[in-house]
């Protein structure tokens, strides 16, 4: 397959539905029995030769749930649904006006995937079919750009995991919750309270930092003092991640939040992007550069690397290991909070965002070599690219799975990671 074909009808563009999606504000969190308060929305605009088609019956079903609506005068329609899931959306062909027909036979039954977001656009295509192609090279460029964007964001959080693992030996399963916290505090400050975007970002990063510092002081430091084994600490971190995740759910609610809104579109050749994405990438790159300088040029950074290498030896040369670990927790949680802010601005976020990313972060850290900060960056960018480029070959739903398979393969072939030092692993 060297060409990807996108079918579109002669009469309308996906753009209509996208605009519609952007103007649909996030619905309230709690689903009562009143359909107007349902948190999830399926919608679209039914057009025939650029003219809205009114009074067509559209039905959404999932298991026992069923809801029906009619298109309005301008062809637009929406159905509120209570739960996430993949809904089947059916257009009743018998209600189409004379002269209008589906572009494809069977095109009146489509799927609306509400497992990741709270809005799904469903576009029924009327009129004669036209075939429009995006050539494979352009597809590749688009995926490459998305992969780089993802990789930079993952790198910010992965460095945090890597630094903490390097200095304390803890594989922290509660790391994803710092990403979620950053994104959700950003949501409270920026779209909800309407604060300045930079002030909001600073507050979100601060919240994540305080969370990281406190959890080290209250939980991990006492456990280190008891000389708890690293595997035991890993299981404690799993328990802690569950607690933290459900507290986030109780505090912020379960719906997916739109944080960044629409940026101004910018086209870079075949890649259609916006200013939010470009600024995010720039900020991530600057932050990563800052960490690299910190680790290689400053005294504290050098001490950090010494502790990572051999904590006992570092302590014997007069380095205060506990102080370094405190600094590492602060830096790591600040970077991870920033990753959450950037993720939230570009995509949407909810209480599970960080947990969904966690395995990718582990994949990145392991890929680069556990405990090396530069390795984590390289690993994260590779994972970001793999995840996005895999979409060219396998179903989109499987893109995370691709990264996990890569992780497993790397562990088997080169368990010390791409940049890790060779040592006995088994």
């Amino acid at each position: 397959m060297n060409q990807l074909t996108i079918r579109k009808s002669g009469v309308f563009f996906a753009l209509v539905a996208m605009l519609f999606a952007l103007f649909t504000a996030a619905a309230p969190a709690k689903a009562a029995d009143d359909p107007s308060t349902y948190a999830y929305t399926i919608g679209g605009t039914l057009l025939n030769n650029d003219v809205g088609v009114p009074d067509v019956t559209i039905t959404a079903t999932l298991d026992a749930f069923k809801s029906t609506t009619k298109t309005l005068e301008d062809g637009s329609w929406e159905i509120k649904v209570p739960n996430p899931g993949v809904y089947t959306v059916t257009l009743d062909e018998s209600t189409l006006p004379a002269g209008a027909s589906m572009t494809e036979k069977g095109g009146n039954v489509l799927q609306a995937d509400l497992t990741q977001t709270d809005f799904a656009a469903v576009l029924f295509s009327l009129g004669a079919a036209q075939v429009d192609t995006v050539n494979w090279g352009d597809q590749f460029m688009i995926a490459l750009f998305a992969g780089l964007d993802w990789g930079l964001m993952l790198a910010l959080a992965a460095i945090g995991i890597s630094l903490i693992f390097g200095t304390t030996g803890l594989s922290n399963f509660a790391h994803g919750e710092m990403v979620s916290l950053g994104a959700l505090v950003m949501w409270v400050c920026y779209p909800m309270l309407g604060l300045n975007i930079f002030v909001s970002a600073a507050l979100a990063v601060l919240a994540a930092t305080v969370f990281g510092y406190t959890q080290d002081a209250a939980l991990w430091k006492p456990l280190r003092k008891r000389r708890m084994g690293t595997n035991q600490m890993m299981i404690v971190s799993i328990g802690f991640s569950i607690v933290a995740r459900y507290i986030l759910l109780l505090v912020f609610g379960g719906d997916t939040k739109d944080i960044g809104g629409v940026g101004s579109p910018i086209n870079l050749g075949p890649v259609m992007t916006n200013d939010i994405t470009l600024y995010s990438m720039l900020i991530a790159a600057v932050a990563l550069g800052g960490v690299a300088l910190f680790l290689t040029k400053t005294r504290v950074g050098k001490a950090t690397r010494a502790v990572s290498d051999n904590a006992a030896l570092a302590a014997s040369t007069g380095i205060d290991v506990e102080r370094i670990i405190r600094i590492v927790w602060v830096v790591a949680s600040a970077l991870t909070g920033l990753a959450g802010v950037l993720y939230g601005l570009q995509f949407q976020a909810n209480w599970l965002t960080g947990f969904d990313l966690l395995l990718l972060l582990f994949a990145a850290v392991t890929l680069g070599g556990l405990g090396t900060a530069l390795g984590a960056t390289v690993g994260a960018i590779i994972i970001g690219l793999v995840v996005q480029l895999s979409v060219l070959f396998i179903p989109t739903e499987m893109m995370y799975a691709a990264a996990l398979v890569i992780l497993i393969v790397i562990l088997i072939v080169r368990p010390q990671g791409v940049l890790g030092k060779k040592q006995r692993i088994g």
Partner: protein, 327 residues
């Protein structure tokens, strides 16, 4: 508040079919972690393969119940081999990350819409219990046990589930006291020493992984058989971590531990949930609504897991000397 109802619900959990399913999976994990020291964070995948093996064999291939059970066992056995052969040579924490990654990747595959005709994608599969329930010798009707009542099929699946628990427990009791079981414990305590004695450590680990995995797949089959629905969302990481909590609650290197751990765990969850729901209805917890009480349930799971590992890693029945989180 209706205390009697809360207590009845709690007692119902003690013999609940989901409790039996989790206990089976926890017994499997006891073989992996308790006796061999393998950090398997993908137990949900073994249970899922049992469930999918059974339901796909029944629905797509129209196999009878016994062949479908074998399909479920075989699926998770093969998965254990595929997972184990490359990864059991790795360090313990790497094994943890690989198993959790493999379990998640498998779940993504089960929910992918491309294979919907076989797996039912995110909606899952349902109505695959006919061949199994046709075995039910119990006459039709409602059966009242005092604290709860159930239909003949609900009673049947409970009997089968708990019988499997007993069979698995007896099997593991003798297995872990055999020479073979002593080698496993030796691997847990000091792998190199066992290797120095000329034992093939890798082969023992693979065998342990396969045996624990197939027991967990029985748990998966029991789990989906009670409601005859099998959805990919069931088999997430929450499932795995609940099994870990149950195992650590009872005691990892014991046979009785996972069984009592599972009963205590679900009874405790149900009791706190009913009490909190009662308090919410009485308006004593104004900052919560009923839906949030269910969320606090999971919060408790995490809290129990943390506190157990910190303060009583050997669990209710365990011997502190027998529990080592190696590494």
């Amino acid at each position: 508040m209706d205390w009697l109802n809360a207590l009845n619900l709690t007692a119902g959990e003690l013999i609940g079919v989901y409790t039996a399913a989790y206990v089976l999976a926890a017994l499997g994990l006891a073989v992996h972690f308790g006796f061999t020291g393998l950090l398997n964070f993908g137990q949900a995948a073994f249970a899922a393969l049992g469930a999918y093996g059974y339901s796909i064999a029944t629905l797509t291939l129209n196999w009878p119940w016994w062949a479908a059970v074998l399909a479920g066992l075989a699926a998770s056995g093969v998965f254990a081999l595929l997972l184990g052969i490359p990864t059991l040579r790795l360090r313990a924490d790497y094994l943890a990350i690989v198993t959790i990654a493999a379990a998640q990747a498998l779940r993504y595959a089960f929910s992918a819409s491309d294979y919907a005709s076989v797996t039912g994608a995110s909606n899952g599969l349902s109505e695959f219990g006919e061949s199994f329930y046709s075995l039910n010798p119990i006459p039709k009707g409602r059966y009242d046990l005092g604290f709860t009542s159930m239909s003949e099929n609900e009673l049947f699946i409970r009997i089968i589930g708990w019988s499997l628990v007993v069979i698995a427990a007896v099997f593991l009791f003798f297995l872990t006291r055999s020479p073979w079981g002593r080698v496993l414990k030796g691997i847990r305590e000091d792998e190199d020493a066992v290797r120095a004695l000329g034992k093939n450590v890798f082969a023992y680990k693979i065998q342990a992984l396969v045996i624990g995995g197939t027991i967990a797949s029985l748990g998966g089959m029991v789990f989906v058989m009670s409601s005859q629905t099998n959805q990919p969302s069931t088999w997430g990481t929450n499932f795995t971590f609940m099994i870990w909590t149950i195992l650590l609650l009872g005691g990892a290197a014991t046979i009785l531990g996972p069984i009592v751990g599972g009963m205590v765990f679900f009874a405790l969850l149900m009791f706190t949930q009913s009490v909190m729901e009662g308090l919410v209805k009485m308006g004593w917890l104004p900052f919560l609504d009923i839906a949030q009480v269910g969320q606090i349930r999971f919060l408790l799971v995490g809290l129990i897991l943390m506190l157990l590992v910190i303060f009583r890693p050997q669990g209710i029945f365990g011997n502190k000397k027998e529990l080592q989180f190696n590494g």
